[in-house]
Symmetry: D2
Subunit: 359 residues, 4 copies
Amino acid sequence: MIIMKQEATKEEIANVVKEIKKYGLKADVSRGEFRTVIGLIGDESRIDFSHFATLPGVKEAMMVESPYKLISKEYVKRFDEEAEQRQITVGNVTIGGDDLVIIAGPCTIENKSQLFQIAEAVKKAGAHILRGGIFKPRSSVHSFQGLGANGREEAEEALSWLAEAGRRFEMPVVTEVRGEAQIDLVSRYADIMQVGARNMYNQDLLAGVARMGKPILFKRHFGAGIDEFLSFAEYMAAEGNKDIILCERGILPVGKGKNHTRYTFDLSAIPAIQHETYLPIIADPSHATGRRDLIFNMSCAAVAAGANGLMIETHHNPSEALVDAMQMITPDELAEVINACLEIKRLVAPKQKAKVTSG
Amino acid sequence: MIIMKQEATKEEIANVVKEIKKYGLKADVSRGEFRTVIGLIGDESRIDFSHFATLPGVKEAMMVESPYKLISKEYVKRFDEEAEQRQITVGNVTIGGDDLVIIAGPCTIENKSQLFQIAEAVKKAGAHILRGGIFKPRSSVHSFQGLGANGREEAEEALSWLAEAGRRFEMPVVTEVRGEAQIDLVSRYADIMQVGARNMYNQDLLAGVARMGKPILFKRHFGAGIDEFLSFAEYMAAEGNKDIILCERGILPVGKGKNHTRYTFDLSAIPAIQHETYLPIIADPSHATGRRDLIFNMSCAAVAAGANGLMIETHHNPSEALVDAMQMITPDELAEVINACLEIKRLVAPKQKAKVTSG
Amino acid sequence: MIIMKQEATKEEIANVVKEIKKYGLKADVSRGEFRTVIGLIGDESRIDFSHFATLPGVKEAMMVESPYKLISKEYVKRFDEEAEQRQITVGNVTIGGDDLVIIAGPCTIENKSQLFQIAEAVKKAGAHILRGGIFKPRSSVHSFQGLGANGREEAEEALSWLAEAGRRFEMPVVTEVRGEAQIDLVSRYADIMQVGARNMYNQDLLAGVARMGKPILFKRHFGAGIDEFLSFAEYMAAEGNKDIILCERGILPVGKGKNHTRYTFDLSAIPAIQHETYLPIIADPSHATGRRDLIFNMSCAAVAAGANGLMIETHHNPSEALVDAMQMITPDELAEVINACLEIKRLVAPKQKAKVTSG
Amino acid sequence: MIIMKQEATKEEIANVVKEIKKYGLKADVSRGEFRTVIGLIGDESRIDFSHFATLPGVKEAMMVESPYKLISKEYVKRFDEEAEQRQITVGNVTIGGDDLVIIAGPCTIENKSQLFQIAEAVKKAGAHILRGGIFKPRSSVHSFQGLGANGREEAEEALSWLAEAGRRFEMPVVTEVRGEAQIDLVSRYADIMQVGARNMYNQDLLAGVARMGKPILFKRHFGAGIDEFLSFAEYMAAEGNKDIILCERGILPVGKGKNHTRYTFDLSAIPAIQHETYLPIIADPSHATGRRDLIFNMSCAAVAAGANGLMIETHHNPSEALVDAMQMITPDELAEVINACLEIKRLVAPKQKAKVTSG
């Protein structure tokens, strides 16, 4: 929408209309007694609003429609009245359906026996999907980067363990793709391909991963607003892959002094995002809080906020984990978390459903 | 703690020790093979660490103890082993006890009949404490500032309505004190005196309110870290008033583009704060989200996170409210929220209690 | 401006118009082919936009005009074509004129001889206005709060020293008012009354200080956006006092890890603010950076950005200062800063002037 | 450094020492009267501090050394006393030397004639290095992504224009590599390879680009703290390429309401970063402010802050630019900026040099 200055001339208005047509959109000119406002009919996201703001006679140029479209609830409902919530099915698990989905496993795969031991334990605790990191994005180049850093062969071996553990314990598996060079390799073993928070803005990676056609677990960057997060999810949808599971994992904290949690867990983003898009969204309390002692409460809170699932780092012996020891819980604690969360899901689900059908 | 440079001389170390004594603390010198570290025995918060950082031979000077003390769990447990959670009783309500406490009412008192109508309805819905704003802190001087802005007489009349509604419907009442000049007046009518988020740093107001000896509802500023929030609560405790109910009401969002919630509801701050202090903490989903359609989920989430209570803006006819219409729910909706939250409280309370007793 | 949904009915539009009139404004209805947009004629800041957003048929309700008016360039130029830049004269100093204004002195007044020694030295170094803190807002209640904390008598004595030092060395003096109870006392001694960053939102203090009729030095809160900062300056202008000197002193940093400066010095806010308001704006590199070794460069940068003046903490012996030792420079260093800044002012001033007359 | 609890036992201390040795570091145990502190001798960045924080008896585990090493001033000075400032020479230009370096050109290459016209003009205005975008990282998948998006052939053609323009007008050229697949292609044409802000965390891209052996222009992410920024620069240094030109281009703004600049230009980060590393750092006022009318002042401010160079988007006809029209200046305006900045550089350089040799 282009808001003209009160003193804008007819020529200036005509010029703006001409410019809008250059972008292939139609102009909807509204002349008030005092001010003229020009709406844009067509795909607003093709417009460079900063260009319009510099044209003579223009007071303000701003986007009224949301910067994402293919994944927006409004858009998908034009084609399918029922499309309130996308359901993504992987093996025996459906994300976005009535059931809460639990993804669990170690932060990082250390060796085969560690992985199998944890996989068995989390299955027993009630998890549905197995996670395990192989290519780890770390803040320091000097930190342990996962087994994937030891070369393609060792990476493939670790991937094959993960796939094998998934088959053995009947859980689809998810692992992170850190760079474009790994897309092909990871897609051969993983059921769900994860794009991590630090890669949220990496559009070439997004497009490449999306083209594999597998479901994607897509994490929000800690500095990204909701619109940015969804705009980058749109990069994957634009490749024809809408099997995107969004994931809130914490944003930058505000204020000075010691941060008592690793990030700020932005739980109100969950229902806010569900209002905008039909994609399912899960929450990762482990990375968001970085604190083992907060996982129980914050998992319950995420489900109460409406999350379709949870991703929780689990280790049979947290204090021996090579990475993120402080945020890992045991399989026993996981079972407690799952039990409480299932009850909370039962409590909040009817109200959400009501909102969907009425609102 | 003062960390000396590796090359620090004996004289430089001696000088730091001398400086520490000037502040009335004792120095605990630890000589390692490579580096000397000097601990501070006494009240670290009396030290200006920036002063020590400029002394010769010093690498870094930092606070190891928390910047609040009187309200810290660690401190109060020295005197009372049981002091895991402070309980604050106002009339027939205890905040910090086993029961979830619900504060509800209009954002702003518009007239007597509006207030009584809402008070009756929220009581019926299950609320325990009645809120109603008289002195409203607004971002724009040109906005409606509450009835308190019409002079002392009208302010007092509105306060008397609030007190009367409280008596009639058997709920203690809470209202905000915006400036020092109102402390005396408000203390005569309110059972709980509220210090709003924008006044969190206003230490003269904090001290003045605390001296009234009544319970205080103390809201976190949207730009304040947890340590800052607790350090300013300490200003009230230092006046001898520890009946402080903390309140999380949203922090500044991150990222660019449209904010889909008014603020970011920092729910992981709730258990993190409960880890640091024994003061009770409640949550205000109305101001945090600014969205009526998110109140149900985010109230449930706050209770799941461990909140001792909720403060929810309620209006019998939200779209006619003069202030904050978008975030108000009806008494019927409030009843739904309360019912779900009570069940969630039952689910998470035993786990929290276990944590408390086990340590 | 109210943007209606495409499917909004005539009745819904009429209802919005009726609501606008209730607030005493006129509605400017613009009917496009696809969408109706309703402009507001009158003082937009009296509208509660959240109220309009809840009305049936409304897509979005937003403020188009800025939330401040009395201090906006646009507004003041309606009455006075020349009113590009307000000039505030205090004694022999004009802030907002052609000359760069330097405010210097100790963070905190410790005793009379310290103050006089520093006052003489900063005058010699080229400062124009003397600063000295008496009522210090500190993060911790246990820290030194300035001589003002020792009671009214000692506060008044320190204020009289400041006034005397100002007379002796021919510099107007500025000191902070921390609470409403001090307004009267401070106004008797100070030539300029400072409202600190932590009090930016304290509207009762702002109104009270403004009513004294003296120039005000008004600091931006570290969590405040530009519009908020100016909206609270408007609280003082609404009392009839437009002698407001704005001050940028650092905002909250982003990101994780050690902050290498105390705050983020938001220098691009300076020309951005000068674009919005005709009030002068100065910069405080001492509080913004918290680092003595950055004062030279960041003072130069602030002047290059267009600041009308600088406020710099100075101490004859920084490492003995009781408060903020790390950020204080010596009078000799101050002289170096001033000399470089005067040259930079000469370089950037003509360009700024050209912009003013042409743009 | 590991700070033990006051009540830590001998066994707990011994256990921490044992754990430290596992990581290949030595432990430096300092026993004070009250508390034991254990320093780490060796490369702290190999430690997972969260692991140590979970060990029994530990109060706090924290990094004392900076998380980057190869690029830190402290480290490089061990081998070369003179290594205060790295100088990077590309063709006829040295970044990090006595001269201010100006990078200019269009945001995006639109066609050959546009590029050549601008290249000639910026050379005449005083620029040293030519920029031009081919692979554009955009927030929306529906926006123009640069000529690089039209396939490898068209990308290569645009790259060849850039290289040709560089030769013709005797300026080294820089362009952004957006994804790993483009590294090889871009390295054949560009003299300096740019990694954009959104890719700052993309460690596989960083490593790949670094291995090309060419100088890298490395932009800070808008959500990254200084330590994070330098830690990711370390990823390139770890590949043996230290020809890294850092670039500050704006961070996320704080506060609510309209942002009057696109980002917050973090100028105090410039001298703060120069204190930590010997790598040169330049500033990009175009992306930081997003406002043509602020470029003059903010360029001057960046140089006053100590920047080694500037990157400024320039277009012969800004209002016709396809991308970022609002932030582009004309070549004539560029000449004005350069002239003022050269004078400011002359003013601040001696003081910086003095600091280097003395401090």
